[in-house]
Symmetry: C2
Subunit: 388 residues, 2 copies
């Protein structure tokens, strides 16, 4: 864990998270400490934060101790979990593989037992993918249900703070502290397995997920199979990609042009792409997004939970080629764009392994279903680790 925060920050002595140890992605302000966003040039030119992000403050007020800040992918613009400047955080559950990102260090610290839970963020999969790769619980909440104040932006149409945990109880308890805004309660009466999402994933991974769902059977409502994306998931991925890139440039373009920061492989190319996106393409993508979102909301009605692989594969090997990582990113975003475009909450559960590496099973709920998904995770956790 790099940067200015050297000593742990103790929380209040009493509270629902009393005694728990937490790590925080280097994207959240902590008063007196600089926020780096995974890039050393950003770190260098920014002053220490004047105040602590409310999400972090809530954790401290609830009794948690902040043990430090964690490395993340630069500008949060990657799902791989590599950082060319600070190094790649260890995937403790598959040491020869990447941890996933961009909330890489938070996932790594949690999976290693360095902490009980950790804050990250998710724009295009940055909580969900590392949760799956590192074999831990992870949630991307409903857009807007956790405060983004004092948190670096990436692409505001999709940015959500989220968290990882090693155990189901801690996972749920953190939600009780962080979630605000509208909670929409409904009993889960239907699970819909997204066949088009499953078709994007490796067969052996899907087989582990099927076994897990089979084991969970008596604790689940009836399962139904359906496709979600009328024109294919790749079309949705492309909408996501255009809007994300255009917003990334709005967020970071001025800084990049002024400071010409060093950027690692992949990040550099994507930032160039972000600079080049045409206004007409963005306009079309926003119109398509409205349509996709309406479609997704039509499916994700209260009471209905969508089931899919969190990631299409196990974590890529550390020595993966640039091309392999690009191809992994494309495949992963076909799955992660669903909750992203829909602004929906999604939890990933560590249900088993393929070739010894963790795989995640995801549940997407309706807007405001965050508490329902966390409670579902607690109920289904007893099946974790059995499949594979």
């Amino acid at each position: 864990m790099p940067h200015d925060l050297t000593a742990p920050l103790s929380g209040k002595p009493q509270g629902p998270l009393s005694g728990l140890q937490a790590a925080v992605k280097d994207m959240y302000d902590i008063a007196g400490s600089r926020t780096g966003g995974g890039n050393p040039d950003w770190l260098r030119v920014h002053a220490p934060a004047p105040a602590t992000a409310p999400a972090v403050q809530r954790l401290l007020d609830a009794g948690a101790t902040i043990i430090g800040k964690t490395v993340c992918d630069e500008f949060f613009f990657s799902l791989a979990g590599m950082n060319a400047h600070y190094g790649t955080p260890l995937n403790p559950r598959a040491p020869d593989r990447l941890p996933g990102g961009s909330s890489s260090g938070s996932a790594s610290a949690t999976a290693a037992g360095a902490c009980d839970f950790a804050l990250g963020s998710d724009t295009g999969g940055s909580i969900r993918v590392p949760a799956a790769f590192c074999g831990i619980f992870g949630i991307r909440p409903t857009l807007g249900r956790v405060s983004l104040a004092g948190v670096m932006s990436m692409a505001p149409s999709f940015d959500v703070p989220g968290w990882f945990a090693n155990g189901p109880g801690v996972f749920e308890q953190v939600g009780k502290v962080l979630l605000e805004g509208e909670r929409v309660h409904a009993p889960v009466n239907e699970l819909v397995i997204l066949d088009d999402a499953c078709a994007e994933a490796d067969a052996d991974l899907v087989s582990v997920l099927r076994n897990a769902l089979h084991d969970m059977g008596r604790d689940l409502p009836n399962l139904r199979h359906a496709r979600i994306a009328p024109n294919g998931l790749d079309a949705w991925r492309d909408i996501f990609r255009i809007i994300q890139a255009s917003e990334v440039w709005q967020t970071f373009g001025e800084f990049v042009e002024k400071h010409q920061p060093r950027m690692g492989p992949g990040i550099r190319e994507r930032m160039q792409f972000a600079a080049s996106v045409k206004a007409s393409d963005v306009a079309k993508a926003r119109a398509d997004h409205a349509q996709a979102r309406a479609h997704i909301h039509g499916v994700a009605q209260p009471g209905k939970v969508l089931v899919l692989p969190t990631a299409p594969c196990i974590a890529p090997l550390l020595e993966s080629s640039f091309d392999n990582l690009e191809s992994f990113r494309v495949r992963a975003m076909r799955l992660t764009c669903i909750a992203g475009l829909g602004a929906l909450p999604q939890v990933s559960l560590p249900v088993g392994t393929v070739k010894g590496a963790p795989v995640g099973l995801s549940f997407i709920g309706w807007r405001g279903a965050d508490e329902v998904l966390l409670s579902l995770a607690v109920k289904l956790a007893r099946y974790c680790g059995r499949a594979g």
Copy 2:
């Protein structure tokens, strides 16, 4: 998780463990449920427990939910984590390897994320070894500091309830709920690496532990090297083995003779040995134990913490031969007998991996140092997962 406890038992709505999910080794009584001790014949002939073990009740009163009972090695008489009747619980961190035992299912459930923490017990290493093999935190408390009421006996001179956790905060919080009796506080001012214990362990494993200690350097007092066992650890192991066997026969002999239970490989042979131990050998072992204990207490003075590998190797492969497992047991008990004979507390931290399988670093404290060791674990947890 086998047996009678099918629905989770909810704890009180408020408390220091509120919302946390726990599993319990099938050795603790839960009112209305039968306690099986890993053997189906024991389970069959015993009635449901009239009351819940106080240790379990404390967890419920503190707000934890009990999600179920976990498989263990039969009569707790193994460190391997196999059960010939119920199957071998998965080692989620090394699926091709054994989980370690006898608190196998509790370690497995914790490492898998099925729960936040789990109760086990430790006579000759039954918490420490599976904690190391499954890559989680584990504590064998000071003898007598956690209630054994309503818990099956094995060898009362050494039996201690203990627990596993995935994260350091949960690990410490459980101690605040379960530990009773005399707490002996002192600042840790010296760490003593036990060279004779390290010499029993595989070189690549010791190398990972040395790297971890090196990383932890600035958070540790000065390190010193020393040997602990004047006549070799094997002599201490033999003392432990004789007393343990004689007490196991006192505990289970009548049942074994009356019911002739089916027993799996290894357990059967050790139970036969237990039946055959001579009173004269036990008398000599008890005298030697008194001497060894005095020696250990002379070393483990308040303020001094002993450092050693939790286990001498990574978890044996699932397909290990009988002879390999016997040899593993002998090697492991050369390390585990130290805290056992001394009635001392020991914590194991998941500091890294060898060949992708977890290894544990152990700290042994003085009698009553349990809270100090848990606090040390919290302080050092930030280094977990970095070495290897």
